[in-house]
Amino acid sequence: MPEDSEERNKFIKAYTAMVLSRTLDRKIVTSQRQGRVGFYTPTMGQEALQVGASMAMETADLIYGYYRDVPLMLHRGVPIETIINQIMGNDSDRAKGRQMPSHFSSKEFNFMSVQSPVATNLPLATGAAYALKYQKKKNIVLATFGDGSSSTPDFHAALNLAGVFELPVVFLCENNGWAISLPVERQTKVEIWTKAEAYGIKGVKADGNNFVDTYEKVNEAVKRAREGKGATLVEATSFRMGPHSTSDDPTKYRTENVEEGSEKDPIVVSEKILKQRKYVDDKMIENIKSRTHKLVEEKFNECEKISPPNPSTAFEGVYKNTTWMLKEEVEDIL
């Protein structure tokens, strides 16, 4: 093993976050089948690109993410409990179980609350970037979305505005090849990163299976944004190794798949990279995996024991000042 180096630490941190996410993913999917979790959108296959992107970000940078961004959150430092509690919708969930699983939020780590309608976070990210620029802050915004989301109105609005106002925002398209059952080739005729040109912003493609490549591409985009050089659209290509969600049956529409542990699995690719640079050996990998496994089991069990929120919380926090109607209605309900 080489001496501890900054890069080594970074890479091990990155790899650990990927493994943690994968382990958690598996745990949640299994628990869903057992009826212990209501729903989930697995993130398997997108770990490397998300962690690569996260490596380029500072904590004070703002993330406008989407429902598959668990690896990104974990690498950023969001406690695993935050993820699990959200999925459980228990009393420790910040939103008290109001949202479906996979709709995360962490103000502490500047990870904006996730909505379901895809890509509608992008105009918000543009507005946030405008604010940061106006306030002369050095921080920037990262907004993520899927390949299918490139067809939406909000994608068009946000990228054009980011171009016109030269905003410090990085748009990260997590191209996993599918929008539920629609393959990306049927979503649009061109590669998504090339759409940047239509908005006068920079476009770049990253190998999303390679966290180093994604890190480098996103990092360059982040730098440009910080230097006031405007927005970038990064397309990171990867695979959706699992189903769209736990409600989805991909055998209906999909013939090929990237298997866990196969050559293309981003975790396997990452292991290779770390080994090549001699940052880890098999034993360390085993170690990380078993530590992670233990951690996930522990945390999951702990979080599962947390009691549900009080039913009243389902009707609180709609406004700063609750309306008289809602007060009246809740009285009738509870």
Binding site: P101, Q115, A179, S181, R186, A314, V318, M325, I333
Partner: protein, 322 residues
């Protein structure tokens, strides 16, 4: 006649329409190979082809806009929005194009089409997979809004909608997709648009409801042996004013039940029509049992949805009034 659930009934209606008329086209997200996230269009693409059952890119405004353009050009489109919650990016196409084309063109251009979408809660969908947005459509002149509460009406209303000559917003109560079962004719038949149905006769109280709340109301009425006149509206725009006024005149006591939020929910219009046209028949207040004025929660949806406790409280309150 075959026993079907609502998904099967809808599928059978579309199968029939597609087989009968080459100008019928289905379009929506994941409706083809995948058969729709609720399987309503299952098997139709492999039977009728990719150009007739179209898997659309992820763009609701495009789905609706394209369907309008098709309807203007001789096709008979049935467009699907995967969840009603995601329809709002298409709202301008619905309000400003679909609803106004006949009027603004002096009848030269019309939009005979159906826009289907599952709505309502009770499937653990949270804020964004549970909304009941019927008000947004029923307030819009130029639209026609229907919602079935059972498989028979689902097929019959869909067949009627396709011959209506104007755009129909077809709201499918997703909670009933599989739980509601019944006999459905194999061939063609119609359930008329604009006609409510008196689904249970009674004299002591009128319960006016529709869509997903119908089975709930019927169960409660049966369980508590309430002498209730129960109206299933079936069409939300235009409302069946005769059915509403008849039952009010009969019982003098009204409870309206729906899961959409109370403020400006359908109950508001129904109540206002009664207060305008049948005030003298009223023997007590008109009560609404509805979803509260908040987003729809993931946890505790059983509290959000009108339930036995709340419906019985309202029924007892009007029945013992005075």
């Amino acid at each position: 006649m075959t026993e079907m659930n609502m998904v099967q009934a809808l599928n059978s209606a579309m199968d029939h329409l597609l087989s009968k008329d080459k100008s019928v086209i289905l379009l929506g997200e994941d409706i083809g190979k995948d058969g729709g996230v609720f399987r309503v269009t299952e098997g139709l693409q492999s039977k009728y082809g990719e150009d007739r059952v179209i898997d659309m890119p992820l763009v609701e405004v495009g789905i609706v806009g394209m369907a309008i353009g098709m309807a203007l050009t001789g096709l008979k489109p049935i467009a699907e929005i995967q969840f009603q919650d995601f329809i709002y990016t298409a709202m301008d196409q619905i309000i400003n194009q679909m609803a106004k084309l006949r009027y603004r063109s002096g009848g030269d251009y019309t939009v005979p089409m159906v826009l289907r979408t599952p709505y309502g809660g009770g499937v653990k969908g949270g804020l964004y997979h549970s909304q009941s947005g019927e008000t947004y459509f029923a307030h819009t002149a130029g639209l026609t809004v229907v919602t079935p509460s059972n498989p028979y009406d689902a097929k019959g209303l869909l067949l009627s909608s396709m011959e209506y000559g104007d755009p129909v917003i077809f709201l499918e109560p997703k909670r009933l997709y599989r739980s509601s079962k019944g006999e459905v004719p194999d061939g063609e038949y119609k359930v008329p648009i604009g006609e409510a149905k008196n689904i249970k006769e009674g004299n002591s109280v009128s319960i006016i409801t529709y869509g997903s709340m119908v089975p709930t109301v019927l169960n409660i009425v049966e369980k508590h042996k309430i002498d209730a006149d129960v109206i299933d509206l079936r069409t939300l725009l235009p409302l069946d004013i005769n059915a509403i006024l008849s039952t009010v005149k009969k019982t003098g006591k009204v409870v309206i039940v729906h899961e959409a939020p109370r403020t400006l929910g359908m109950g508001a219009e129904i109540s206002a029509l009664i207060a305008e046209k049948a005030i003298d028949s009223l023997l007590g207040p008109i009560l609404r049992v509805t979803g509260p004025d908040s987003p729809f929660p993931y946890r505790w949806e059983e509290y959000y949805l009108p339930n036995e406790k709340r419906i019985m409280k309202a029924v007892n309150s009007v029945m013992t009034y005075g």
